[in-house]
Amino acid sequence: SSIASFQRRQTSSDKRHEPPHSHPANNPAQDSAVDSTPLHTLQNTMDHRPQAWGRPRDDVYGAYDASFMNSNGPKQNTQQPIVTGTSVIAVKFKDGVVMAADNLASYGSLARFTDVKRLRPFANSSVVGFSGDVSDMQYLDRHLTDLAISEAYDSPEQPRLSAANLHRYLAKLLYRRRSKFDPLWNHLLVAGFDDAGEPFLAAADLLGSTYSSPSLATGFGSMLAQPIMRRHVPDEEAARKLSREQAVDIVKECMKVLYYRDARSLDQYSLAVVTKDGVELKTDEKLENQSWAFAERIKGYGTQTV
């Protein structure tokens, strides 16, 4: 009966407000008996021709924008990072790992958010440093919070997940997402300890690629900071001899070089030191001893002397 009443209403609506180009054959009941059912106001703006039944009329609302209904078009997953964080750098030393990342989230070339913390402690035993898309970083951050809570239920005293476990988990997550063509646009470093209690440092990127090294850097840092860190820590043996102070100095030096030469960097940064005692995270470090005095001696681009 609902169909019958619908048809009744439709007939009367056609009578009142006939759509343009309507074919007489499409409205067989055009001159049927008068219907007393009150009209729904929307019906005047709906198309009632059978081939486009009951949708908003183009001459009232404009052509339908098909991009709103992409049921079988290309997927609209993250196609490119939007708000981004630049390098994360880290170096192993004899008792743990030092990691640093500046507090900037860029919007293209605009230094848009200047107080974004990109180092995230996990269970006071590991640190994850994120570069790349900030919304994906925040997604992973929430995901890790959930993980930490459920882990704390199972093992309240001692964290079960070492940094090595955490790295493997995140790498699998990233690889799964890249295989779905819906990547999390991040390159991240995980620092802490492995299951044998040795300092652990490894990287994972949006493709699910993983690698480990005594010193690691993402993005610009892999080109500017890695050579400096490798000069101090060429291999695992050197990392086992490095003191905490030396490691922090190396990382600070690298942050300075990155600020000089990376146009998407900031002079305020976070620094985390992971040791057996836990994670010490400082989020308001500032670059010191920058060298700009030489600049006033440079004039012109060649022959200019004044």
């Binding site: 180009h21 081939q51 039944w53 290309p74 493709l207 690629s209």
Partner: protein
């Protein structure tokens, strides 16, 4: 309300009949056969640009210029490196360098690409098969994890380790399962078996540099017995299985040559030597430049 959906992909114009009703709403999704009415719909379309009854759900995301926007995400990369396997009479050596690159950068100088698979534990102490993967490293480790799990399940179900032959067959089906989104790797299996598959094989970035050298030094290609004749009458040098020190030397020389001439190969040489007594692993330094 009820929903009846035909999920098959239809090439004929699928039309969504949506009926709004004060008390209930019904959405019927039916692929409509091309009927005279549907053709007429195209004629009567109020939006001629769309050339149809205005239900182009297949329209993709557009750029600001109105062009179709393509996927910019490339799920693959190349992490460089090379692998090499040589079979002797009663042993096999699988080797690979340990450099992991991305573009011109070295990600890691110690990222092994030769793995033991099929042991009973994570330490792989009792494994008998070695897998090398070279190409896209994330696919490589995914492939290794999958094959390793399968070998472990096989051992659990059948109470014996997988033979190399069975493992190779399984590896080929694993790779073919992803025929249309492939694992971008050169995968090689090494072990001991009753069959002889290949005497030697090099793969990866410097595969083309190493393989001709192996043809000559392992299979004695283009080598002839001195004074055995002239022109086509020359007698080929007789092939024989090489000894272990000879094979190790050839592998080291092959990689040293590759490191010299290919920028993506270097840092260290990892070798797994499989004999009936087990698997020995060795790591030798190579040039880091």
């Amino acid at each position: 309300s009820s929903i009846i959906a035909d999920l098959s992909i239809s090439t004929s114009p699928a039309i969504w009949h949506q009926c709004t009703h004060p008390t209930s709403s019904t959405l019927l999704i039916t692929p409509r056969k091309p009927s005279p009415v549907a053709k007429m719909a195209a004629m009567f379309s109020q939006n001629p640009v769309m050339n149809g009854p205005n239900y182009s759900f297949s329209d993709g995301p557009k750029t600001n210029n109105g062009e179709l926007r393509e996927h910019r995400f490339n799920p693959y990369t190349d992490n460089g490196g090379s692998t090499l396997g040589i079979a002797g009479a009663d042993f096999t050596i699988m080797a690979g360098d340990t450099r992991h690159t991305s573009g011109y950068s070295i990600n890691s100088r110690m990222a092994p690409k030769v793995f033991k698979v099929g042991g009973t534990t994570a330490s792989q102490d009792d494994a008998t098969i070695v897998l090398s993967v070279c190409g896209f490293a994330a696919d490589g480790s995914a492939l290794r994890d999958q094959l390793d799990t399968i070998c472990k399940i096989y051992r659990y179900r059948h109470g014996k380790p997988m033979t190399l032959n069975a493992c190779a067959k399984r590896l080929s089906t694993i790779l073919y399962q992803k025929r249309f989104f492939p694992y971008y790797v050169t995968a090689m299996l090494g072990g001991l078996d009753d069959y002889e598959r290949e005497q030697c094989r090099a793969g990866g970035a410097a595969g083309s540099l190493i393989m001709p050298f192996l043809d000559n030094q392992v299979n004695f290609k283009n080598q002839y017995v001195p004074g055995s004749g002239t022109g086509h009458d020359l007698k080929e040098r007789e092939r024989h299985p090489l000894s272990r020190p000879q094979v190790e030397t050839i592998i080291k020389d092959a990689f040293d040559g590759a490191v010299e001439r290919h920028i993506e190969v270097g840092d260290a040489l990892q070798m797994m030597i499989i004999t009936k007594d087990g698997i020995e692993e060795s790591i030798l330094p190579m040039k880091q430049d």
